[in-house]
């Protein structure tokens, strides 16, 4: 990377901010949260820019009820859980999946939905439940897994599905109007799938600038510069500083896979409750893959671990450091809430990379 280029961008951002007292920008996605810290970009910005982490860490937005349902399934002798690694350590009512595993439950960490399908085919004697969480970046993989399982006639694979959609939650937050925001730094990888057009209402109807950026430091700086300029000039547009990867319409193949298996549905978000049209549920033809239905489990009520502010953190209502447990009784070694567990979580990023907390 060209340090001179980032330096020039930083200078431009400072110039663009000259007449602004404060600019509150939300990075929607956990990958941006981590990249902004890890690359040191956060430390280069003028003080008037406040970056707020949004509801874009897949593990963090998953309701506690889902974690409890996963733990309940894990306790069944005939079930093997296949899950992304980050989910394993999230504490639930009866401990985490990690604890269940220590007690003999069969829990396998996978890196992709495809691995869960592979595992199910290699272990026909097990009922394999894939914990299908995440945003538009992971849904096509889950849909692909299910389409392939159906094609191959794999009967022992199921998904506990809680996929979520990025734009509806942005709109829900804006409708609620509880968090003052001046614009959104939109995630490159999600936007590859959904396209620039998806943010049209956020910029148009709600009047909040949206800039789509990748995760390279210079590209994130370009995104922030775009946002600050829009704010300074009173514009509100969808801007794409990551055009190599993101198109206007997104990825039609991914959309087609997802649309074949899932339909839009209300979804429960941690601490935010049910948000209409913000999640995906199985279409009737694919219900036989639905772990909830096949095992007759229910996702219980959502609740916060005692003292944990994750629900506030993911909505940008609180910084991790405002949580009284942060870096005291809640650390990556002994996490209390999902925001400290997940590698994409705001609390984990603050803890790992932010000098101020130490």
């Amino acid at each position: 990377m060209d340090a001179g280029r980032t330096q020039r961008l930083v200078e431009k951002i400072h110039t663009a901010c000259e007449h602004l007292e404060s600019v509150r920008l939300m990075e929607v996605c956990g990958t941006h949260t981590v990249s902004l810290f890890r690359s040191g970009v956060k430390s280069l910005l003028p003080e008037c820019i406040k970056l707020i982490s949004g509801p874009g860490c897949p593990v963090c937005v998953t309701s506690q009820g889902y974690i409890d349902a996963a733990c309940e399934l894990a306790q069944r002798d005939d079930v093997t859980i296949c899950t992304y690694g980050d989910m394993v350590r999230v504490p639930g009512r009866s401990g985490s999946l990690e604890l269940q595993r220590a007690g003999g439950a069969k829990i396998v960490v996978v890196y992709s939905a495809r691995d869960a399908l592979k595992f199910a085919r290699e272990h026909p004697d097990r009922k394999v439940v894939f914990l299908a969480i995440g945003f538009e970046t992971t849904t096509p993989a889950t849909a692909g897994m299910i389409l392939e399982a159906r094609r191959l006639g794999v009967g022992n694979l199921f998904a506990l599905a809680a996929h979520k959609l990025v734009v509806p939650v942005m709109e829900a937050m804006l409708s609620a109007g509880e968090v003052p925001l001046d614009g959104f730094l939109c995630p490159g990888h999600v936007s590859v799938i959904i396209g620039c057009d998806a943010y049209r209402d956020v910029a148009g109807k709600y009047g909040k600038p949206c800039v789509i950026a990748g995760f390279e430091p210079a590209n994130m700086l370009e995104g922030i510069l775009g946002l600050v300029r829009q704010v300074a000039e009173g514009r509100s547009e969808v801007e794409n500083v990551y055009p190599q990867a993101v198109s206007t319409r997104g990825n039609p193949v991914a959309a087609q896979w997802v649309g074949q298996v899932f339909e839009t549905s209300p979804a429960i978000w941690r601490a935010m409750g049910e948000i209409p049209s913000s999640g995906l549920d199985f279409r009737p033809e694919y219900r036989r893959f639905d772990a909830l239905e096949q095992f007759d489990v229910k996702t219980g009520p959502d609740y916060e671990p005692a003292g944990c502010l994750c629900g506030q953190v993911i909505q940008g209502k609180a910084d991790p450091s405002q949580c009284t447990l942060f870096a005291k009784s809640c650390t990556p070694v002994q996490p209390v809430g999902p925001c400290m567990v997940s590698s994409e979580g705001a609390c984990a990023a603050w803890y790992k990379y932010n000098r101020a907390q130490s």
């Binding site: 040191g40 970009v41 690694g85 980050d86 070694v333 130490s358």
Partner: protein
């Protein structure tokens, strides 16, 4: 496959029974490759003549999946790991022990290949396998093969790298590209398809350390960053010395392929495991000399000075990023896992 072939080609429980099968296993597959004066008598213990001075003793247990990975295998890992634990104490390894727990069903060709790499790693490090043991456990109880090695080393006169000697201004060096072992193993385990491009760095560091110690530099501290990565060792150093450390991301050796893969997996390369890396802290005035000495050695061709010890407070490890920003570096929790999207 017939029963006979099974016993011919795979480890069976009888190989661990102490009888004729055990003898055949040892004489056919193990001992010939390791032959040396200390081992050959096959006495219950090896007998060594040791000159007067200080001796180092270390031991380590090795498990890895898969047991054969791009750039190495568990055998090479078990030799190098223990050699490196001695080397970073400033010791010259003089003997290793080797205890292997074989799982029933292990392919004997795999065992042969692993014995070959144990022998060649020991030769590279100029250290004999002086004594050893093998046991066999039932199928599905042993992860294929686990190995424990112990090592004895001699510490030369006047050599005393120790954290307590580290002081403000000291230079921090590393001998080459980081994160390669962890990424190579992860790639092989998960079938990420980068196995041909990314090899583990597993290597014995005793030779490199000897060159550095003989260069006349004031070597204050040595460590081989394995699990926990460079971040773990730097955090230990800051904690142990109560001093701060500043490292420059742009100067930390990292191959483009390793960087790309870490990015893909959402991992911080600083926290990914190495098995052939040496972190050295030397007096500031000796930095250039130490760098030249390292670069002269095959394992130090891409060595670099990556940062220095400072008196900033509170004691932290700070990284100056490629982008010119700053952030702190912490010891990772357990194994870092790839991100979800």
């Amino acid at each position: 496959m017939t029963g006979k072939q099974v016993t011919d080609e795979r480890i069976i429980l009888a190989h661990g029974g102490g009888g004729e099968s055990t003898r055949q296993l040892l004489s056919g597959h193990v001992l010939p490759k390791l032959a040396n004066e200390l081992l050959n008598p096959l006495t219950d213990s090896a007998v060594l003549d040791v000159p007067a001075g200080r001796i180092c003793l270390t031991t380590d247990a090795y498990t890895v999946q898969p047991i054969v990975f791009p750039g190495g295998d568990i055998g090479r890992l078990a030799v190098c790991g223990t050699v490196n634990d001695l080397a970073v104490m400033g010791a010259r390894p003089i003997a290793l022990s080797l205890a292997m727990v074989l799982e029933e069903g292990l392919d004997l060709r795999t065992l042969d290949a692993i014995m070959d790499s144990i022998a060649s790693a020991a030769k590279e490090a100029s250290v004999p396998i002086a004594t050893g043991d093998t046991k066999v456990v039932e199928h599905a109880r042993g992860d294929g093969l686990t190995i424990t090695t112990s090592g004895l080393g001699l510490i030369g006169d006047g050599v005393s790298p120790a954290m307590g000697r580290v002081g403000e201004g000291d230079a921090i060096l590393v001998n080459g590209g980081i994160a390669e072992h962890g990424l190579a193993v992860m790639s092989a385990r998960e079938g990420l398809g980068m196995e041909t491009q990314l090899l583990s760095d597993v290597a014995p560091l005793a030779g490199l350390v000897a060159v550095l110690l003989e260069s006349g530099c004031d070597v204050k501290f040595l460590r081989d960053p394995t699990r926990g990565g460079l971040a773990g060792v730097l955090a230990d150093l800051a904690e142990g010395t109560s001093m701060s450390i500043e490292v420059r991301e742009a100067d930390i050796p990292l191959t483009p392929i390793a960087r790309h893969m870490a990015e893909l997996l959402g991992l911080d390369p600083l926290t990914v495991a190495n098995e052939g890396k040496l972190l050295a802290v030397v007096a500031a005035d000796d930095a250039d000399k130490a760098l030249a000495a390292m670069r002269d050695h095959p394992l130090g061709r891409s060595a670099a000075v990556i940062g220095s010890v400072t008196d900033a407070s509170p004691p932290l490890v700070e990284l100056v990023t490629r982008a010119g920003g700053r952030r702190i570096v912490q010891r990772p929790y357990g194994e870092e896992l790839p991100r979800i999207c």
